[in-house]
């Protein structure tokens, strides 16, 4: 019998936390700061894992933490804490003010101008308390159903790492010394299955599938997830190596998304101003094939990468990063925009500690017109990649070399599974050589890509 325990005491209300953030900013200013910014994050998480029909883990918790960034003129420092006691907060404040005496004067530092600050209006549909509405037994049942669907789908699915159901809510508050105070809540739930297929020789292959949504209604059925996961594991059985060769490579949406993430790192203002990106200095130039248009949009209602304001309190927006192959914009926060003499794209991401980084809104490659089977149908001999392994990507040079597995394409059809091979090239060439983009764009996170075909890569094997 599983049930949930109610909070014994009421949590602090939103107003209290907003007031707290505001007060800390004021105290920093009266303590000698010339600008200050406070962030508070609180969240709840629930997760359960069912393995071979039995509950293996149940986890439930809530947490809260606070971060402060202060400026003394052009010197900046930050502190953070999970201790909300009077002494804990005093210590955090005083440490920040002290620490800001030892950093360097940086003429490009500072919080945004007052005129830049603000928050998108209207309901962005980011929060649905229904992710917690299921009773405990029902949550476990989601996980159990996903795993069962995988185990029942084929006798070769003999083992499993389990089925899982996760839910989480988060609440973020940001206040700064220009008087900005903003907050938003987001929710999330997911169901996943990780089955293991085994062939007659005893060789095992594992794969997974999942669905993620901001509310429970939009979650795909656990049965569908389990079946998909099983199919993905089964199709890997009997995988072999292939000979070293140069062939067209088709990437499924999940692995194509990883290529898009490398592009994100390449247009990230932080790497660009330091010349640490293979795309530094390429603004306005042709960096990808003419069919490639990449967009970052933090304003899409209900999106996984949506928020009313960025990590510095600037309303999020839509930015065309690559338009028909031309590099149209970098992705920037206030600091990197100043360094490059450009305007911020409202992509500041703010953790608790340190200076703001740069993060995606809803960041995606625009889809094409043809179906994935049509893309594959054009390939005489080639590789369909379903998984990359490792981190062999050098963003300074663009050099790319990763482990891969997938299916061999022969005569326009997916044939036998392959593994223990490498895929290598250079990102500069790879973006120019995206010869096809399919019509299957679907968001499973903030970054998404349809199926793509890239020509001219080296497949390393025997």
């Amino acid at each position: 019998m599983i049930s949930t325990v109610q909070q014994e005491s009421a949590p602090e209300t939103t107003t209290d936390l907003k007031q707290l953030a505001h007060d800390l900013v004021l105290r920093a200013m009266s303590g000698g700061a010339t600008a200050a910014e406070c962030v508070i994050r609180e969240g709840d998480e629930f997760s359960t894992l069912v393995r071979l029909g039995q509950v293996e883990t149940l986890k439930e918790a809530g947490s809260k933490s606070i971060g402060l960034r202060v400026f003394r003129g052009q010197r900046a420092a930050s502190t953070h804490s999970s201790d909300f006691s009077r002494e804990g907060l005093d210590r955090m404040l005083n440490s920040a003010l002290e620490l800001a005496k030892i950093t360097s004067e940086d003429p490009f530092g500072g919080i945004p101008e007052p005129s830049q600050l603000g928050s998108l209006s209207g309901d962005l549909d980011l929060y649905s308390p229904d992710v917690y509405s299921l009773p405990g037994e029902e949550r476990i049942s989601y996980a159990r159903r996903a795993e069962k669907a995988a185990l029942d789908s084929d006798p070769r699915i003999k083992n499993s790492e389990g089925g899982s159901f996760d839910a989480a809510t988060g609440h973020k508050i940001l206040a700064n010394s220009h008087g900005f105070i903003g907050e938003y809540q987001r929710s999330y739930c997911s169901v996943a299955a990780v089955p293991i297929a085994q062939d007659e020789k005893g060789a095992m292959q594992r794969d997974y599938w999942y669905s993620v949504a901001r509310n429970l209604d939009r979650l795909e059925s656990p049965e569908h997830i389990g079946k998909m996961a099983a199919q993905r594991a089964l199709r890997r059985l009997g995988a072999r190596k292939v000979k070293t060769q140069h062939v067209p490579v088709v990437l499924d949406p999940l692995v194509a998304t990883s290529i898009l993430q490398h592009l994100f790192e390449g247009v990230n203002g932080d790497s660009v101003y330091r010349g640490a990106s293979f795309l530094a200095g390429k603004l306005g130039q042709l960096i990808a094939a003419p069919n490639v248009t990449v967009i970052d949009d933090g304003t899409i209602v209900g999106g996984f990468g949506t928020s009313p304001f960025d990590g510095e309190g600037i309303p999020t927006r839509r930015t065309v990063v690559i338009e028909k192959g031309l590099l149209n914009s970098y992705l920037l926060n206030t600091y990197t925009a100043k360094k490059l003499g450009l305007q911020t794209t409202a992509n500041a991401s703010r953790g608790l500690a340190g200076t703001p980084g740069i993060g995606p809104g809803n960041y995606f490659l625009q889809q094409g017109a043809r179906t994935p089977p049509q893309l594959i149908g054009d390939v005489k001999e080639g590789l369909y990649v379903t998984e990359f392994l490792g981190m062999g990507v050098n963003l300074v040079t663009g050099d790319y070399s990763r482990g891969a597995s997938g299916l061999w394409i022969s005569g326009g059809e997916l044939t036998y599974p392959v593994e223990e091979i490498t895929v290598a090239g250079n990102l500069k060439d790879m973006f120019m050589n995206i010869s096809e983009i399919a019509n299957d764009l679907e968001f499973r996170g903030a970054v998404a890509s349809p199926t793509i075909r890239i020509d001219g890569l080296t497949v390393g094997g025997e």
């Binding site: 019998m1 049930s3 949930t4 325990v5 909070q7 014994e8 039995q54 293996e56 883990t57 149940l58 986890k59 918790a61 809260k64 933490s65 900046a76 420092a77 930050s78 953070h80 804490s81 999970s82 201790d83 804990g88 210590r91 030892i102 950093t103 360097s104 004067e105 405990g136 083992n159 790492e161 095992m204 594992r206 890997r236 190596k241 000979k243 070293t244 330091r274 010349g275 640490a276 340190g354 200076t355 392994l389 490792g390 981190m391 062999g392 050098n394 300074v396 040079t397 070399s401 990763r402 482990g403 223990e420 091979i421 490498t422 290598a424 090239g425 080296t458 390393g460 094997g461 025997e462």
Partner: protein
């Protein structure tokens, strides 16, 4: 017992409180419960463009409560250490079980603890100006190395983690775990090319480590050297060939190829490619691989693991034969094997699981120069970025960041970064020579598993593998490659 642990001093905890919390955790039955108190303070500093652009300090404290009932684990945590919140979390974790309440054993037993990192002044409490000096010196040294070094970033980070673990069977273990690390990354540029280099190190050491043993200049020069070298690197070959791994950090091979596959949880669930292979030959007889959490000052070392169990040296592979797994409390109990003290977690928010500490291969008898001389055509890889493994099918990769061609027994041209890929259960069967030059890494490794990151160490002597797949791009054979 004469105790005055950190949490008794700072949070007014008493043994009575601990017993009360454990009783709440076992209020619905369950075989075992434990509490993990953590207080983590940390500092980070970074220099970029010769300016100290960021400085940060933080505190994170909380308590994680676990209840085990058969194979089931209930877990809850709180970052509010008030009795009401801890009791609430204990009752939440208790819901995994369903039976009559159990009583934790009365009284706690604290075992004599090791002292593998006896720092007098933890670096986190040291003067910040000394840390600023470290990153500024690193910046200056890297820039002075060569005018082609155009960008330098130096980071310093340290932490002190105070933990207290108490278990319902009477475990009482506390530890104060320092950890410090420096990193220097450089970008070199000439008329035509850009290249990067990086280096770093540290351990469970005090600040003076960086003023004596391993200075900022040491890491800065190493980082700059790699960046300059890479400016002229040529394309790496592609396909199967002989590979020689240099000593030290290339031990990441062991971490990926065998280490993860030997973590007991995967073997209990029969999801590892190594499941059922104990006593079988999984490597050449020249290979003996251990995991050792007891090495003084090392990044991967611990006096006690995160379940309060003493760490140890565990032989994983002895002369090619698979000897044992790395276990935590749950796996040990369910598999009827000894707890090897490898139960680790990222923080109080996380459930412990079997993890590596410092994993390395013992030295062999071959002269490293003979090993190179024995290779007609191959790759010599001395530095790596990181790696990854699929536990179930055993396929693993690791990515070389500094590598050279070997031609007719000589190390020749540097090559661009390339991923090496292999199959865990048979990669080490292809080890034909093992050097006498065992070295451990500098202390920068972080291992991720199920979303939890923990510090680890790796090491190995110069080692020759007769065949591995190298993931280069070279289309044409520069001198006999890709035959």
């Amino acid at each position: 017992m004469d105790r005055n642990p950190f949490f008794f001093q700072h949070y007014g905890l008493t043994e009575n409180d601990l017993e009360r919390y454990l009783a709440a955790a076992l209020s619905a039955g369950g075989d075992y419960a434990d509490l993990y108190f953590e207080y983590l303070s940390s500092t980070t500093l970074s220099v970029d463009e010769s300016m100290v652009k960021s400085a940060s300090q933080g505190i994170s404290a909380g308590c994680g409560i676990r209840v085990i009932s058969g194979e089931r684990t209930g877990y809850a945590y709180t970052d509010d250490l008030s009795p009401a919140r801890i009791l609430h979390a204990a009752k939440t974790a208790a819901l995994i079980a369903s039976g009559p309440a159990k009583t934790p054993s009365a009284g706690f037993q604290q075992k004599a603890a090791r002292s593998l990192y006896p720092v007098t002044l933890p670096s986190v409490d040291a003067e910040i100006t000394a840390k600023v000096e470290l990153v500024m010196r690193a910046d200056a040294a890297a820039r002075a190395y060569d005018p082609r070094i155009k960008e330098v970033r130096a980071n310093y980070g340290d932490e002190l983690r105070n933990i207290l673990v108490v278990g319902s069977e009477g475990t009482f273990a506390e530890d104060s775990q320092p950890l410090a690390r420096m990193n220097v990354s450089c970008i070199a540029r000439n008329e035509t090319n850009s290249a990067r280099g990086s280096s770093g190190g540290g351990g469970r050491v005090a600040l003076d480590f960086f003023f004596g043993e391993k200075t900022p200049e040491y890491f800065a020069k190493e980082s700059a050297r790699q960046a300059i070298l890479q400016l002229d690197a040529r394309e790496a070959p592609a396909g199967d060939m002989e590979v020689v791994l240099g000593p030290g950090w290339p031990g990441v091979l062991l971490h990926e190829a065998v280490g993860h596959g030997l973590e007991a949880d995967f073997n209990r669930k029969q999801t590892s490619a190594f499941a059922g292979l104990i006593g079988k030959k999984v490597a050449s007889e020249k290979c003996t691989v251990v995991d050792n959490g007891t090495m003084p000052w090392r990044r991967g070392s611990l006096n006690v693991d995160d379940e309060g169990h003493q760490t140890q040296e565990t032989v994983l592979i002895e002369k090619g034969i698979l000897k044992g797994y790395l276990s935590d409390k749950l796996s040990a109990k369910l598999m009827g094997m000894a707890d090897t003290g490898n139960g680790r977690r990222e923080s109080y928010e996380h459930i412990p699981m079997p993890r590596m500490t410092n994993t390395y291969m013992l030295a062999g008898e071959d002269d490293p120069e003979d090993i190179i001389r024995s290779v007609k055509r191959g790759v010599y890889a001395v530095n790596f970025g990181g790696g990854q493994v699929d536990i179930t099918n055993g396929k693993f990769v690791f990515s070389a960041s500094e590598a050279y061609l070997i031609e007719d027994g000589h190390v020749t041209a540097p090559i661009r970064g390339a991923t090496l890929i292999g199959n865990g259960p048979d990669a080490l069967t292809r080890v034909s020579m093992v050097g006498n030059d065992l070295k451990l890494d500098e202390g920068i490794g972080t291992c991720g598993k199920d979303g939890q990151a923990v510090p680890v160490g790796v090491g190995m002597p110069t080692t020759k593998l007769d065949r591995m797949t190298v993931g280069g791009t070279a289309r044409k054979d520069p001198g006999g490659f890709m035959q």
